[in-house]
Symmetry: D2
Subunit: 333 residues, 4 copies
Amino acid sequence: MTEVRSSPAVGRVLPSTEEESVALVDDLCLRYRNWGRWGQDDQRGTLNFITAEALIYAASMIRIGRVVSCGLPFNSDGPQSGGFGGRTNPVHWMLQDGGDIALGAQDHLGVCRYTDDAVSMPLQSGTQWDALAHIFYRGEMYNGHGLEHVTSTGATLNSIDRIADGVVGRGILLDIPRYRGVEWLEAGQSIDDVELAACATAQGVDVRSGDIVLIRTGQIAQVRATGSWGEYDSGPAPGLGVHAAHWFVENEIAALAADTWGTEVLPNDTPGIFQPLHLILLVNAGMTIGEIFDLEALAQTCAELGRYDFFFSAPPLPITGAVGSPVNPLAIF
Amino acid sequence: MTEVRSSPAVGRVLPSTEEESVALVDDLCLRYRNWGRWGQDDQRGTLNFITAEALIYAASMIRIGRVVSCGLPFNSDGPQSGGFGGRTNPVHWMLQDGGDIALGAQDHLGVCRYTDDAVSMPLQSGTQWDALAHIFYRGEMYNGHGLEHVTSTGATLNSIDRIADGVVGRGILLDIPRYRGVEWLEAGQSIDDVELAACATAQGVDVRSGDIVLIRTGQIAQVRATGSWGEYDSGPAPGLGVHAAHWFVENEIAALAADTWGTEVLPNDTPGIFQPLHLILLVNAGMTIGEIFDLEALAQTCAELGRYDFFFSAPPLPITGAVGSPVNPLAIF
Amino acid sequence: MTEVRSSPAVGRVLPSTEEESVALVDDLCLRYRNWGRWGQDDQRGTLNFITAEALIYAASMIRIGRVVSCGLPFNSDGPQSGGFGGRTNPVHWMLQDGGDIALGAQDHLGVCRYTDDAVSMPLQSGTQWDALAHIFYRGEMYNGHGLEHVTSTGATLNSIDRIADGVVGRGILLDIPRYRGVEWLEAGQSIDDVELAACATAQGVDVRSGDIVLIRTGQIAQVRATGSWGEYDSGPAPGLGVHAAHWFVENEIAALAADTWGTEVLPNDTPGIFQPLHLILLVNAGMTIGEIFDLEALAQTCAELGRYDFFFSAPPLPITGAVGSPVNPLAIF
Amino acid sequence: MTEVRSSPAVGRVLPSTEEESVALVDDLCLRYRNWGRWGQDDQRGTLNFITAEALIYAASMIRIGRVVSCGLPFNSDGPQSGGFGGRTNPVHWMLQDGGDIALGAQDHLGVCRYTDDAVSMPLQSGTQWDALAHIFYRGEMYNGHGLEHVTSTGATLNSIDRIADGVVGRGILLDIPRYRGVEWLEAGQSIDDVELAACATAQGVDVRSGDIVLIRTGQIAQVRATGSWGEYDSGPAPGLGVHAAHWFVENEIAALAADTWGTEVLPNDTPGIFQPLHLILLVNAGMTIGEIFDLEALAQTCAELGRYDFFFSAPPLPITGAVGSPVNPLAIF
């Protein structure tokens, strides 16, 4: 297992022009690229850091037998308000319900009566994992595969079903608002590698290779306080800045999730480059990224227990060829 | 924790008429009814058997760090062939894909490019949990709630989102074909409480209060051997007989799943009563039931390791008001 | 053919209490009830007024060969904003598109390349016809059928597919804002039978048995002027008052449509009774009602031509068991 | 108006190699290309042949006031069986139904009660029009537009909503099985221009510029006789051969539809080229093509009346950006 390493001295300056952004992001993409590291055929990326040893260690996190879900309920009151093209809230409908029973529609079934239902939903409309096929950079996704692998019939490589036996391991929460002493971070406020390391230290949590890291910005607390999703689904948000990349790579983090729609600070701190961490971490390092995780109850539990690590189980639905999946992530103490 | 108890001597005769079926099932429903046991407001039923202590013990199952998924892939080649009213295979489509990128549709995004997708699916079309709102018996579901709680807008009680912090605990596999020395059970072959106990003993696994029990009939192996789902989605199947109920209740099993569409033997061994275990266990005992679990890889792993218990994590999607949920169940050794 | 008749002297007082509303609506329901008029098995209601003779006369309306569509485009920018439970705007997606072709996904097809697509939509989310199974009054729909005929699997009687060979005949537009000399009627402003007759006279149009009547309130013009659908999908609206019923029945109108979400004035002018005309006309008289028709281009054409009658063709999609259908209504001059 | 012209003597030989197919199809594509004929911005193609004069003449077809629908019901028993990638039968569900009313879910509505529903369907799963954006030939669709105009968000040109004020005009039925004296044509049997002309003559129908031509092969009669859709959705079929193109172009046909899934004979009579008429007629001539029309009742009516022409109204749903639309086509005598 890897020890916590100090943040890099290099690359601490933020770009002020698109040209500088491109130079920085290109540099980090290449520097942190894991293509081929786990084989040319690998489709799991940094989940490979969750070794058998890491998983056994993760199990030792279960000490008091308490479970906390980090999944938002999936329903028509979800965060989607049309801001992100094509993403709507889930539509749920009944195939059979109590009314059918009342009207005698199941009288052929003897004394047994049932209800049944269906859902239609964009896979990234709520709490969800991005598959490694979700992002392309200069025409390539993780491990160097081209656009032709994601067509209207789905992704033939790096799809979410390729990590059907994950995402499970040790989870840690970095509760940034608590670290800063605020209720939540405001949209546009960014988090860098230095702060991540400092927050972990302050919380008394060691960071290990294969950890699944959850970043709380508190934006969902803000939504609840204001009573409206507002532009949560696609607008400005607090989140990770481009220099957070160092910390995730150097600590050999297996997967990353946050309580915002895009994990990264928005507007991004790289003028002219949208979502640079997705390019650096997901495409190049091969890191699975989760979004719209509800970390409020988890943060409360961590604070109450004085513990920021836990067993974490968040298996995606193995939808063949999908580039994302809704998920109900469980933290177990 | 509860010790394994012997199967009951009572109730071992199978009914031969509808009248006898009704008498037996009514008797078992009342005998095993847990309504009110965990409070009038309880919506978790036998999942309450998974105490903190049981969960901590479950964690001790993780010894070698190996994960096996029991989820069938969700796609258009799934088991649904129109046999069960309204259930179709999932439909997956892309909101954005590599072709859009190739045609320049995302050129406004700087260097970042993404793909996005959606799914429409009956919630019980593949590997899934039944919610406690899925079945009614004489107009009532678990804990005595009436039909008016499940309308076209969903279930207001006992819906799947009420167990969002489950289903996680110790899992055990009972591999009946292996116990019998056959490749798979044929449709119509049933399993009773005596065989469940004997199989557990033969496999060297103790059964504990709060266990999640997976029953392998091998029907999915048969589907693969024949190359066709045939009537898998709604037709005859091997499975649990009505007398299996005793074993599940007396061992305080938390949840139950099988590798068939309905868990129970079909045709049922209760003439005139369809799916009696759903009435006895789900409605009355409050036991969450899983179906269409793919237990092939798990059975192979168990045989290979000579171990039939494991940590089991199968969180449903918390779809508000849903009466079932697709799931990707993970067994962790 | 029926001559235009004068409005009734009776029933001209509006109710001021729920008790009075109930009395009035009950009276009109019974007075105008057509159950059995066209047979106990009839499922077409007042469309039966469109006799062969009426249809031949309708054809004589086609004199200059100009077609005007009254259908709003179906897309994600439609009127639905979540105000009406379960109604969302249509979701349209591609099964194959130009990007797939660009990426070579169809290279097996020789030189032929294709695109393909799908839609998911509430049937009454845009321009649409209500089926006679859409409304119940005191547990009965048109021709006296009970609730058990509309379950989760659809309607077995009075469904939209029962009028698959309609709705086609002579159409007339009553442009109320133009008659009043305003741009549009404001929400809450109602139209009664006297005004309908006066408007027809002012427009120089005779009203005949079997006519399909389109009522323009101008609310869509208002939406366009303000740039927002606002509460168009479920909120206050101008429209027909309860006393409009007389005119429709006495003129033997075959079908009725308007440019609002519910055709009737909202709040209704019957305290305590929601949508009384749906009860009187659709349920009891058996009149098919259309909603969210875009009558702006039609009104302009009528004004330009000085003619308010035309051939009208608005066939619903024969979706088996549906209680409504999207439609693209065509007026032909 | 154009008189019926004789079939061409040229081009009567069928290709026997892919090379010959390509040469023939390329030749016909260029020969019959209408790009620019109605302007560079035209998106209606041969529907432009339906002039005001033609539409007025079409109205004269309405002589006895009888309506015949050519739409198959849209439901789960439709022709789709998974043969054509991504096309499924429609899924229809209820948002509110009689059961909800029975259970009191609408008791807040006073005495008014309603039902409501939704559908999800591939746009070409049943009776439907192909939009001019449905087919590409060598990277171009009608009027020379490229692939970039049809992405995952739909078609920006030649989409079905561009013909929202159609398809309406004079229709004629060519009942080939009746002409041949058989019940139906068998899969693989083709129809050419000479036979089309002869059939029209035998039926006593003149063909005019702007006519909408319906071709009956009888395949739906065969489906009904055999009781199974079989491979109807994507397999071998009777239909038009490549040389049928001459007749449609020279007669200035406005639109074309048949009672098969692809209108053309399958296997095609152009080795190595799939669906050549779609390339020649839809892409190059700009002719809207309809498929899966149910022409059985229409054929019976025509035979009974001894008349094969009628007013024809088949307006597509104006789904923004769609490349096809379900339709309920009406023939009116």
